[in-house]
Symmetry: C2
Subunit: 219 residues, 2 copies
DNA sequence: TTCAGGCTACCACTTTTGTGGTATTTTACT
DNA sequence: AGTAAAATACCACAAAAGTGGTAGCCTGAA
């Protein structure tokens, strides 16, 4: 059984896809989302699907960002981007981030189905048109079999301590207050925050809280 | 025609109520929400209903907080709390905040209907049991006809400038950067932020961003 | 025309955040 | 037993945020 989550801001496409995928015997569409916030909150709860089908245009936060964040926070989850078009630079970024597939929406259903199966087995998969771009990109650096990996840690790339921290920060505690609360040195707390900001790619508290919200870490 | 928005985290109650209210000729249930985030985002877009029916137990953010925030940000909107129980202190706070009604869920539909009509006309309305508490509370201070009011300003209690500011802060700009961007003195920007924090009742940037999110000011 | 609210601006001072290091210990996996 | 990651801790300095004031200007409503 392959567990699948769909994320797409077009409810029609979402429903259609769900109906189609649900008919495939060993596929299970466990959840669908039309906004990234709900999606991230879901992941943060620890319900990690095997495969995520992700549409690329999602309003305030782009598909690229969503994909990057999912890949960073939940490396065990396979992400397949669905898009109407493709852009060289984006694909490069995504492939480096460890995305599992990039398909055009024009892809027919059989191809999508096959792709999901391949991806679930740990392979990379994309539309032929896109493969060219990807191969082109490989003429620069060749590293990285991403792949396999046991389930990893549930809460993702961020450690438990870090998540604890970000929540306390969101509750308006200062480093000093958090240090007291957790019986830690203020230095330690500052170090955690520093790592947190680096991992989430933000510059200050405002960015930290915003991102934490977007990623469903706080509510 | 009275435009109504329902907010309640119990979908069953929500749907039932919607069905009932929709049958009343001059009532229009324009929207329903089962979480506060979506509700605040909706208000922030400027679609202000005349009356909001608000259930009191809503998880992370309490009904009291939601009500207070709505009343503060959108004074023109009439808020009726629906609750299973009632607490002296809460009611006092809410009445002072300018709530338009406080009904128990045990209220029958006719009473609810009448209450909505009264409230839409600018009156205050609550269950008899609660009225006692309210009157009791009046033995302290007697001010405030809240009420009437033209539509006020759309974005609520926060001024345009302040909303602009909070969004730039959420984008990780420092006061200096914002000042440059808007051709203002850094002092001015700091003053705005100061007012902003006071209005939203928060202590620091973390709280500011969190609240702004909760209120749908940023996304 | 007074008055309130919003926008602007300033000051001085404290506290907290943010940067950019290093380093030890514990824990968990191999 | 070895090692990678997490958690802990330290330092010094720069940059911002946060506190608690005051105050002038403009506009629209009473």
């Amino acid at each position: 059984m392959i567990s699948i989550v769909l994320v797409d801001d077009h409810p029609v496409f979402l429903q259609g896809l769900e109906a189609l995928l649900s008919k495939v015997p060993h596929f299970e569409v466990v959840k669908t989302f039309s906004d990234s916030t709900g999606f991230f909150r879901y992941l943060a709860e620890g319900d990690l699907p095997e495969v995520v089908l992700l549409d690329i245009e999602m309003g305030s936060i782009t598909g690229i960002e969503i994909a990057s964040n999912v890949l960073q926070l939940y490396p065990g989850v396979k992400v397949i981007m669905l898009s109407t078009y493709f852009s060289d630079e984006y694909i490069s970024v995504l492939v480096e981030s460890g995305i599992s597939g990039y398909l055009l929406k024009s892809t027919d259903f059989k191809e999508l189905k096959d792709s999901i199966e391949k991806v679930a087995k740990g392979r990379f998969c994309c539309s032929p048109e896109i493969m060219e771009v990807v191969i082109e990109g490989f003429k620069k650096s060749s590293d990285a079999e991403s792949s396999e990996g046991g389930p990893g840690k549930e809460p993702g790339q961020l450690t438990d301590r870090e998540i604890e921290l970000v929540r306390l920060i969101a509750d308006e505690l200062t480093m000093k207050e958090i240090a007291n609360k957790l019986y830690l040195s203020e230095h330690t707390v500052k170090t955690h925050r520093k790592n947190l900001m680096a991992k989430l790619g933000v510059k200050n508290t405002a960015g930290l809280i915003k991102k934490a919200f977007l990623l469903g870490l706080i509510e």
